[in-house]
């Protein structure tokens, strides 16, 4: 591993203190320290999360009070006439909001929040390494992601506005200005995502190499915390899926720029080819967006329950299983596309089967809580909510997987409800759990606990009030991406539900102020954090809070046991760190 490090970095392996004297720019901006890069990703992706949420608020306002000049979008008058005119949002702007909300949330908020932040921050700390295998590649990964994000935002300002063909960018709509009214915005959308793809690949290569090669002495594969396991499988999915998206995007870009015709039937192309390429990436992407959260939640629930994770190996194999089966389910996004219906039958079966590893994980979380001594700190409340809400997201997925039932539900708000139960109820609650759990390690200060609990409570309540009723709007037949739902009589009769959802969504968004206040207040004023505030076992908690450059202050950790030895008879305490030397007491019998 050290053969790839530059002479300068090799030199610092023994003299970590030197890095503390680095000039500001090298220490905080162009840093090769995995922890700084993780924190850079954290600030970047939280900002995009806020922006993506803001776009969603504008959409919700429109859906509750469509084209009603007496209730114009607050602040709408500040927007240019190409977006908002005489108190009414324009449909082309609504479509851009739909597109950019999805794109920003998936690619610039949830994905970096799960992978960019935590793979960078946690992997070296959890496996007992002093940094990543390729620190400069790691730095490049962040410095590609940020410009990609800025480019995406800049597309709002170009002639024609931002991309408006949906986050899925289906051609021919996305490749022909005549149909969409957007050219430059759509090109920037494609370019930005290709750049972000390179960023993801650099990260993925790094995470995989680091986990395989740089584990501390004694850190066997089956002593890895589940967070690291999940990030490992996620990185493999990224490495294999992202190139397919990038290839597709380059073809799409050629189509829209040079009229190449890969996806344009007028020049011998096939619109469905894009859908296959996009979803071949897109469904593994869904698991990229949930597996890391499953890992964090496993670590946090075991810690909260003061119990070993129930069925550790089953949990690992379930992650691996999801990683494999996730490659052969993409066709369920295309049940209505005109694809051969026999393929639909195949994809229905694979999609239903992927419920099995998801169920294994859920039951094992329940098993972990059973017989525990459960502490309800803010991270654990978020982690338990993840389980409760992921169950709903998983069960609503069964309706959509069953192809005949999907016929009326496809492309309706039922799907919108389903993805948000998975990506917000699941991933975002997992992210909040992770941030509140590892914040003391990252910044050396505790977050405010009562404020954290209040934020959790309001988020949990308003999340459900926002997204649960969407299931019923969907089964009632409300299509997605509708600028004005009152145009259809069968939807207009439920307009009060749309108003209710919008008010809940506004409250959900407003509740996030508590998190922002808590985050920044704690950053500067929070109580000083000890090295191991949660009495946890894994290696990161044996490093100082925050860990110095090189992580371990000169001596590398040695691992003696797995990461979940809570309440072990081997120890007087209800935890036993991976680094604690054997106590001499009889080793516990494993099942």
């Amino acid at each position: 591993m050290s053969t790839v490090a530059t002479p300068q970095e090799t030199g610092t392996h023994g003299t970590h203190g030197n890095h503390e004297d680095l000039p500001f720019l090298r220490k905080y901006v162009f840093s090769t320290d995995h922890k700084v890069i993780g924190i850079q990703f954290l600030f970047m992706s939280l900002l995009f999360l806020l922006l993506g949420g803001l776009l969603a608020m504008a959409m919700r306002w429109q859906l509750a009070w469509p084209t009603d000049p007496s209730r114009p979008l607050p602040g709408g008058s500040l927007l240019p006439d190409t977006m908002f005119t005489s108190g009414v949002m324009l449909p082309e702007f609504y479509n851009a909001l739909v597109t950019m909300h999805g794109t920003i949330m998936v690619f610039f908020a949830i994905m970096p929040l799960l992978v960019g932040v935590w793979a960078n921050y946690l992997i070296p700390l959890q496996i007992g390494a002093d940094d990543m295998a390729f620190p400069r590649l790691n730095m490049a990964s962040f410095w590609l992601a940020l410009p990609a994000g800025l480019l995406m935002l800049a597309s709002f300002a170009v002639v024609g506005g931002a991309a408006n063909a949906g986050w899925t960018g289906y051609p021919p709509l996305s490749i022909n200005e005549v149909y969409s009214g957007v050219k430059t915005g759509q090109q920037l959308w494609a370019i930005s995502l290709v750049i972000l793809g390179f960023s993801s690949l650099m990260g993925a290569v790094n995470y995989i190499t680091t986990i395989i090669n740089m584990r501390a002495p004694g850190m066997t594969w089956f002593r890895l915390p589940l967070s690291t396991w999940a990030l490992f499988i996620t990185s493999i999915l990224l490495l294999l899926a992202v190139p397919v998206l990038a290839g597709g995007l380059i073809m799409l870009f050629f189509d829209m720029t040079f009229g190449m015709g890969f996806f344009n039937p007028a020049t011998g192309g096939q619109p469905l080819l894009w859908q296959h390429l996009f979803w071949f990436f897109g469904h593994p992407e869904v698991y990229i967006l949930i597996l890391p959260a499953m890992g964090f939640v496993s670590d946090i629930i075991a810690n909260g329950a003061r119990k070993p994770i129930f069925g550790y190996k089953a949990m690992v194999w379930a992650i691996v299983g999801i990683g494999f089966i996730g490659w052969v389910v993409w066709g369920h996004h295309m049940f209505m596309s005109g694809m051969n219906p026999l393929l639909g039958g195949f994809f229905m079966v694979t999609t239903l089967i992927i419920a099995v590893p998801s169920a294994i994980k859920t039951f094992n979380w329940l098993g972990t809580l059973w017989g525990g001594n459960i502490r309800f700190h803010a991270p654990n409340l978020h982690a338990i909510s993840f389980v409760a809400l992921f169950v709903i997201g998983g069960l609503s997925g069964v309706f959509l997987a069953a192809a005949p039932v999907d016929v009326p539900l496809h492309d309706t708000y039922f799907v919108v409800a389903h993805i948000h139960y998975v990506l917000v109820g699941g991933s975002l609650f997992g992210i909040f759990a992770a941030i509140t759990f590892w914040f003391p390690k990252m910044f050396g200060r505790m977050m405010n606990e009562p404020l954290g609990k209040l934020h959790w409570l309001l988020t949990f309540v308003f999340f459900n009030l926002t997204f649960f009723p969407m299931h019923m709007l969907g089964s009632a037949g409300m299509m997605r991406r509708l600028y004005d739902p009152t145009n259809y009589p069968h939807i207009a009769q439920y307009q009060d539900t749309n108003v209710f959802i919008t008010i809940s969504a506004l409250l959900l968004f407003a509740s996030q102020t508590l998190f922002i206040v808590n985050f920044f207040w704690s950053l500067f004023r929070g109580k000083k954090a000890p090295a191991n505030p949660w009495q946890a076992n894994s290696l990161e908690w044996s490093a100082p809070s925050p860990p110095p450059h090189g992580n371990w202050g000169g001596h590398m950790p040695i691992v003696h046991r797995g990461p979940y030895e809570y309440s072990s008879p081997e120890s007087e305490e209800d935890y036993l760190m991976q680094t604690a030397p054997p106590t001499g007491k009889p080793a516990p019998v494993h099942s």
Binding site: P265, F310, G345, A388, V398, A403, P404, V407, R480
Partner: protein, 254 residues
């Protein structure tokens, strides 16, 4: 349960089967939902933090792993087997019933153009006529539509028919339905197709048999230039054409 889920009225022959499947899944998932969530809440209450208590030290139970893995697998495989036949009945052209009326539906930004056969009862002949944003069919009649698009992808969606099918440029995609309740409904677009996507609706009218004969004859006449002879011939042709073998021969292609 239907009121909870706000299922729209069903007016198609296969819609009832879809709804039954929906209800089966809804019952299974509701039971699983309550079982899991109640167990979760019970555990949270029963095993809440108490000072001085130590949690049970266990790493799992292989029998339970096998039980819930097998249990889940059984449920999803049964659901898959139950769904597959219905899916193919609705979507696989080889399983389509013989059509009694064939229509060509051509989508474009932001309208549905419906082409009806003329007096000869066959599509793609000189006497076809096309009506914008109006899909008319007779009740209790097997209708086969061929979906095409002139520009971008659209999606044919009538919630009451429980039918949705994308229209893709460059492809001719067949679909079928048989409406069972006369009335006026709305055909909408379910795939984002541009700035007017939200208003790409057409009226969908299911006529009683008598109504249909009158309407169809009038339209044929209007299209043909309108003589009494044409009107009579058109009406006869409609009745004769029902179940004709050549209509069934229209092969799907994609």
């Amino acid at each position: 349960m239907d009121r909870f889920w706000r299922l729209p009225q069903n007016i198609s022959t296969f819609g009832g089967d879809i709804d039954s499947m929906f209800r089966i899944i809804a019952w299974i998932t509701t039971i699983v939902f309550f079982a899991v969530e109640l167990l979760l809440v019970w555990f949270l209450f029963r095993y809440r933090y108490r000072a001085g208590r130590k949690a049970t030290y266990t790493h799992g139970n292989n029998r339970m792993e096998v039980a819930w893995t097998a249990g889940t697998a059984l449920i999803v495989v049964v659901l898959g087997v139950m769904s597959r036949g219905l899916w193919l009945e609705i979507k696989d052209p080889r399983h389509f019933p013989d059509p009694e009326l064939e229509l060509l539906v051509t989508a474009k930004q932001f309208e549905w153009n419906v082409t009806y056969p003329g007096a000869d009862g066959r599509l793609e002949t000189g006497d076809d006529f096309t009506i914008r944003n109006q899909l008319h069919v007779p009740v209790d009649t097997n209708v086969r539509i061929t979906l095409r698009s002139e520009d971008v992808i659209h999606s044919f969606f009538v919630p009451q028919l429980r039918l949705k099918q994308d229209a893709v440029p460059g492809m001719s995609i067949p679909a079928w339905f048989e409406a069972t309740v006369p009335g006026q409904y709305t055909l909408g677009c379910a795939e984002l197709c541009g700035v007017g996507h939200y208003s790409m609706d057409a009226s969908f009218v299911v006529h009683t048999a008598d109504d249909w004969a009158t309407w169809y004859a009038q339209r044929q006449t209007a299209a043909a230039g309108g003589t009494a002879a044409n009107l009579a011939a058109g009406a006869t042709a409609t009745r004769e054409r029902a179940g004709s073998p050549e209509a069934a021969a229209a092969a799907p292609s994609n």
